[in-house]
Symmetry: C2
Subunit: 438 residues, 2 copies
């Protein structure tokens, strides 16, 4: 008698084969793009010392972190992102590695968030970073990698919205509003969510309405990258060298991205700030034209110090993170199913138990020919075996007959039989059907 009800924890999910294959297919494509840019994979433990993940004090995230005391009385926690473990990783291994270090890391993280907002407590992150260089080339590479990833995933029209945190900061210094920069950045970051008027009101109550007007004018896009950049620079002090450097950096990034053919994808959007204080240079967000409402599907930016909590070594870097769950949902919504769900290509129909060794012999030969083949293990009614094939999205069935009618390949979708006299012809006949059906 079963005594335990099978169920998963709230906010946690099983992945059935079709969903898991779709996720694996998405990840594989991202990995191919990362590899083509020279990013290499790493892995870190799921459990770490709580002190490592949360810092000595522990902040706001604390409440969401799965944290406990282990058998050895250690205060441990499950990772809640891939950035903190990467910082610890770099501090620990920088001497075994080489700089600049380009890594990607695709792995699960855990946050005990409120699931009512449609969030999961276990989800995958996908981070890619270039650490150990403060250069326009690395900034451009992150933009280009994001652009190639979107192209590879056939998301349709998309835009990479970039900005430079220093230009915003220099502008705020010029209007003497630096002390309110964190609040101003937070308001501006929500512009698209709350709208122009609410943003104006929120800014006015922070800095008064004349400055609020300046800020709104500053964050408005002009007709071209260069025009927007010139306007942003003009809102800073004339002799501001930091603003000159930031402007130069953005121009250089744009030149590299344009040279690589993605000039139409990159937009300078002064309203993009990425709420975190963490970023110090370029920031980026990626918006899908078909689904702007889901927000950015790939976001990141440049930071001065990756690992200052753990090491004296200066590790400037730039990186971004792909929102896998969000991207999967978006691809599904815009009808870009990632995978046919197809695994087995040929099901060998089991007509009688005595044929079993022969069926396994044929299956093995077809596998050697590059096909995915399975033998139905029991001589059930053929209709039951067809149902199985249909549920599993298997496109072809093979009947092993007798000397008069040796092999029949059935195209299950069309309910059409192809008689094949010679075994050696099965592979090509199957491939013809498989290629045609895609």
């Amino acid at each position: 008698m079963p005594t335990i009800t099978p169920r998963v924890l709230k906010g946690f999910r099983d992945f059935l084969p079709d969903a898991e294959m779709a996720r694996a297919s998405l990840i594989k494509k991202l990995e191919q793009v990362f590899a083509s840019f020279g990013f290499v994979p790493i892995d870190t433990p799921v459990l770490e010392y709580a002190e490592i993940l949360l810092g000595k004090g522990g902040g706001e995230t604390d409440k969401q972190v799965y944290r406990f005391v282990d058998h050895g009385e250690r205060d441990v926690a499950m990772r809640f992102d891939l950035t903190v473990p990467f910082a610890r990783f770099m501090a620990e291994h920088v001497d075994e590695l080489y700089l600049p270090f380009r890594r990607y890391h695709i792995a699960k993280v855990w946050r005990g968030e409120n699931t009512q907002r449609g969030r999961y407590r276990e989800f995958m992150q996908c981070d890619f970073d270039i650490v150990g260089t403060d250069s326009a080339s690395a900034d451009a590479d992150i933009v280009l990698t994001a652009a190639q990833a979107m192209t590879r995933l056939h998301v349709g029209d998309f835009s990479l919205r970039v900005n430079h945190r220093a230009l915003f900061n220099r502008f705020l210094a010029h209007i003497e509003a630096s002390d309110k920069s964190v609040d101003i950045l937070r308001v501006v970051d929500k512009l698209e969510k709350i709208g122009q008027q609410a943003t104006a009101d929120a800014l006015s109550s922070l800095v008064g309405s004349p400055l609020a007007r300046d800020i709104l004018e500053f964050i408005r896009k002009e007709d071209s990258f260069e025009a927007t950049l010139d306007k942003m620079r003009s809102f800073c002090a004339k002799n501001d060298q930091a603003a000159d450097i930031a402007k130069g950096r953005m121009l250089r990034i744009m030149e590299c991205v344009s040279a690589a053919g993605f000039e139409n994808r990159m937009v300078l959007d002064p309203s993009i700030t990425r709420g975190l204080d963490y970023y110090t240079g370029m920031v980026l967000e990626t918006t899908l034209a078909a689904m702007p409402e889901i927000g950015s599907v790939c976001s990141g930016g440049r930071y001065d110090e990756l690992a200052s909590l753990y090491t004296d070594k200066k590790l400037p870097g730039v990186g971004a993170s792909v929102g896998l769950d969000r991207l999967m949902a978006a691809l599904e919504a815009i009808g870009k199913t990632l995978v046919s769900g197809e695994s087995t290509q040929i099901l060998i129909i089991n007509q009688e138990e005595t044929q079993l060794p022969e069926m396994h012999r044929l299956a093995n030969l077809l596998r050697a020919d590059g096909l995915a083949v399975e033998v139905f293990p029991e001589p059930k009614k053929v209709v039951a075996q067809y149902t199985y094939a249909e549920r599993k999205h298997i496109p072809l069935a093979l009947f092993v007959g007798n000397a008069a009618k040796p092999y029949t390949l059935r195209v299950l979708g069309r309910r059409e039989n192809i008689e094949i006299a010679d075994f050696s012809a099965i592979g090509d006949a199957a491939r013809k059907e498989l290629n045609g059906s895609r």
Copy 2:
């Protein structure tokens, strides 16, 4: 000032790029073999209700399980294997799936084991099972999948040692030693570790020396699969139908495996019992000829009831688990490094910052041509860029020159330069070198 020492928990590991790429390469090959047999991937949560993972009571494994109370006062635990979550998964989703269901699952599990025995507390398991059928065909498929996996991984000579638990049990019933079967199985299972004499002694003290001699004779291999099987059958009662059925099953499995060309790999070894009570039919172990001392790298067997804790549905199945860490260590020891560690194929040497857009343009074109390319982000000394390439196992460097000498492709290993006049020739020249160097 850094305040926290970067370190991982005892028994946990970082995977640096070379190790992670080797692991990913091993997993990819296994996935290809699984897919060729029609296995599909699934995923389950890392955290589950402790009751699900440990049963109502919780047994010996308890002490090793990472178990804690979460924010919602739930008694939760991190999975310690992939079998229990699979049982829960099948009980929960059997109506959404189809039977027989062939799945694989490659994922991390956690056990707070004593690390002094060289064990890790976080490690990967790789399980493949066929559930919902009690057939020789499915048993044979598990053996064949294991055999193909070993072949695909080029482990050298290997043997799949199989047995049938029922034959052993029927033999014990015949000699009236069934009540001591668990102890006897445990002793026999250690035969290779403790040797013939110690096994004889241990068995004698359990059942007396005449029966101990019978048991030792029973578990001795004969010259052929059939001879061993006949001997095993002859040690059971004459009219024992269960023994007849078990013998018939083993013969049928052997016929299917032989038909698929792996007859020389499968050995009937009556001393293989797999310590667990869980198995009820065929059991298997996989031994590498080059490293028998590391033990089985792929083990499993047939079970009657996968999920009886969670459902009334009868779910017989057969499956096996690949010991990934053990296999990686073995492959390394026998010199079968899994991956060259190569990621980037061409490093574009950064000679001057003004060339940056042109370098990104070329990198993008080479990527479109199927090559993995990166631009060194800063115009450092060429020797520093060479050192970087060497550390990262990058085989080729590309210098972008002037009209007189447009492109130089340098084969870093041979320190040889190839002058290339036309950009369109770079891809082929690079591929020629890359294929030659493998």
